[in-house]
């Protein structure tokens, strides 16, 4: 057991000399630092708070107590997606009491001084951190993205530690803040493939997450550089099926210029040779839907990026969804405004797709849908995983193109992806 050394300022916060709210926040940071066996706390330069999803009165009360106690964030802080679309919830079959609580929670975070970007993809915002910075980010896909793709350093923190870190500006020196712990330890060899799309990265991420355990995966053998959206899909899937907070892709991510660098000169503790059959099996396993009438297509978990909007606008050109199929896309206000300027939002609207902002698909629940709404389809591996539990209905998983064709046909169409055809 290491001793935790606190700075003079840490001690002042802990003693309550900087207010009650700051004291409570520092007490929590210190207790978690001790659980992590950390020797000291470090300054953090950015915080993304994930506790903005309304889970119940217990956590709302904690945030409102911090506000009452006069706490304020000390470092730039952004807010994750929230449980409602603040501008549209009245048209979305949302319980008014629930909406009120969800709005109070978001307001609480704003009152603490956090910026209301309301997004689960904080890495597409100009406020995103840069390589080597110590940060505290919540939201599992964003944690994986920050560590792996940006090269910033954050642990897989839980809700509350994020806001406590924002209020104190401090976090435990542990885990992925320490360079040695960032080296790869699980080698994943990918077979040569062509025609990769978002569904490839979703399947790969989901498979890797299942096998990774506590290890840091290193993906080797990819022939084409992934796009931001591919990486987003990979991050979301790898952090859904497992507890992965960091991975490397050789030749792509900044701490993996070579396989040797990614592994930190060590031998991997474990190796997985992925086959196309494994990936197809994973893809099939993501679908839990049944029946051949489609009621709802959902996309945007994690939030649709501008690139996603462009891809969808191209796919829906000249098409119209079946009148009986609802098409819901979640994103943040910034991306929707940009997509509107580019004309893509209009093309998607002409197809019959509707956007919702502030919230995301993870906030859907069974109360929002009628009994007639039974069959759902998504291109999101994360929603394919969590959706059945959240909305108590089976969910088909397919590519974005499958989702569009299915919405037109009014029936789920899942094609074999091009990358799976050897």
């Amino acid at each position: 057991m290491n001793e935790l050394l606190l700075s003079e300022k840490d001690q002042q916060m802990l003693d309550g000399r900087m207010g009650l709210g700051t004291q409570a926040a520092m007490r929590i940071v210190v207790r978690i630092a001790r659980i992590q066996n950390a020797t000291e706390l470090i300054d953090v330069s950015h915080v993304h708070v994930g506790g903005s999803i309304y889970t119940g009165p217990g956590s709302l009360n904690v945030i409102e107590r911090l506000v009452e106690q006069g706490a304020k964030v000390r470092v730039p802080t952004t807010i994750n997606a929230i449980s409602i679309d603040r501008r549209r919830w009245k048209d979305q079959n949302i319980d008014a009491e629930f909406a009120g609580s969800a709005d109070r929670l978001a307001t609480g975070f704003e009152n603490l001084g956090a910026a209301p970007i309301f997004s689960c993809t904080p890495y597409v915002f100009p406020t995103a951190p840069t390589f080597g910075q110590d940060i505290v980010w919540a939201e599992s896909n964003a944690i994986a993205y920050a560590n792996s793709v940006i090269g910033a350093r954050t642990n897989r923190h839980g809700d509350f530690l994020d806001i406590c870190a924002a209020i104190t500006g401090r976090a435990p020196l542990a885990g992925l803040h320490i360079p040695e712990n960032r080296h790869g330890s699980f080698l994943v060899n990918v077979p040569p493939v062509s025609g990769v799309d978002g569904s490839f990265y979703t399947a790969l991420g989901y498979l890797v997450g299942k096998h990774a355990g506590e290890l840091v995966p290193v993906i080797d053998g990819l022939m084409e550089a992934p796009s931001l959206e591919d990486l987003k899909n990979f991050c979301a899937a790898v952090a859904t099926s497992g507890a992965v907070g960091m991975f490397h892709i050789v030749g792509v991510t900044p701490e993996a210029p070579t396989l040797e660098a990614a592994l930190g000169g060590q031998e991997p503790q474990k190796t997985l040779n992925v086959s196309l059959a494994d990936l197809m099996h994973t893809t099939d396993g993501l679908s839990t839907g049944s029946g051949n009438k489609l009621d709802l297509v959902v996309m945007g978990s994690p939030h649709f990026t501008l690139g996603d909007c462009a891809e969808l606008a191209e796919l829906v050109r000249g098409k119209k969804r079946n009148a009986k199929v609802d098409v819901l896309i979640t994103t943040n206000r910034m991306v929707l405004e940009e997509a509107t300027r580019e004309g893509w939002a209009e093309m998607i609207a002409a197809f019959g797709g509707r956007f919702s902002t502030d919230n995301c698909l993870c906030m859907l629940n069974s109360d929002m849908f009628s009994n007639e709404m039974q069959t759902v389809m998504t291109n999101s591996g994360k929603f394919a995983h969590y959706g059945p539990g959240l909305i108590r209905r089976g969910v088909y998983f397919g590519s974005m193109s499958d989702c569009v064709e299915s919405a037109v046909a009014g029936a789920p169409i899942v094609t074999t992806p091009e990358w799976a055809v050897a």
Binding site: A24, R27, I28, R31, I32, I35, Q36, G50, G51, I53, T55, G56, P57, G58, S59, N61, V62, R65, A138, E139, S140, I143, N155, R156, H157, G158, D159, F160, L161, D162, E214, A239, T240, S241, G242, A243, T288, C362, H385, Y386, P388, G389, L390
Partner: protein, 156 residues
């Protein structure tokens, strides 16, 4: 010969020694799994039920149980879900892990800081974790002692 144990401080069953993440006392029936869990999206804080259809314990009510699970996974909102379950009275009575899990511990730490109550969260080594997984009832003491009892404590 089986020894009849009584759940409580006078227990004479096997004693395991755990690392304490959050200190507390708990006694109850075991709900155990080797499958990791995401509290967010996997656990309903209003009822204490596992709602992840892919999980081996899908449909089980963990309210008041000793939950034996190796580690958390998935969403970082797990802490908030666990906190809400603790506040609503539908959390497990105690949690036994095989690895330190900050997200699970954090939900309980915040509960203790803001509500002045808590449940124990402890970590057992591999072999002891298996023993706990196979036990019917367990006691967790504030110092991290986990006592195994072979029956439900009410006689059979």
């Amino acid at each position: 010969m089986a020894i009849r144990n009584r759940v409580g401080p006078h227990i004479t069953g096997q004693k395991l020694s755990a690392t304490v993440l959050v200190s507390g006392f708990a006694s109850g029936e075991v709900r155990g799994t080797r499958e990791m869990i995401s509290f967010w999206g996997g656990y309903d804080p209003e009822t204490g039920t596992i709602i992840d259809r892919r999980h081996a314990l899908f449909g089980h009510d963990l309210t008041g149980k000793i939950f034996v699970v190796p580690h958390g996974k998935g969403s970082s909102t797990g802490s908030a879900v666990l906190l809400d379950a603790l506040v609503s009275g539908h959390a497990p009575a105690g949690i036994i892990l095989n690895r330190t899990d900050e997200i699970i511990a954090l939900g309980v730490v915040v509960f203790e800081e803001f509500y002045d109550r808590c449940i124990p969260v402890v970590v057992l080594s591999d072999e002891d974790f298996t023993t706990a997984l196979e036990a019917k009832c367990l006691d967790i003491l504030p110092d991290g002692t986990v006592s195994v009892s072979t029956d439900d404590g009410n006689g059979k």
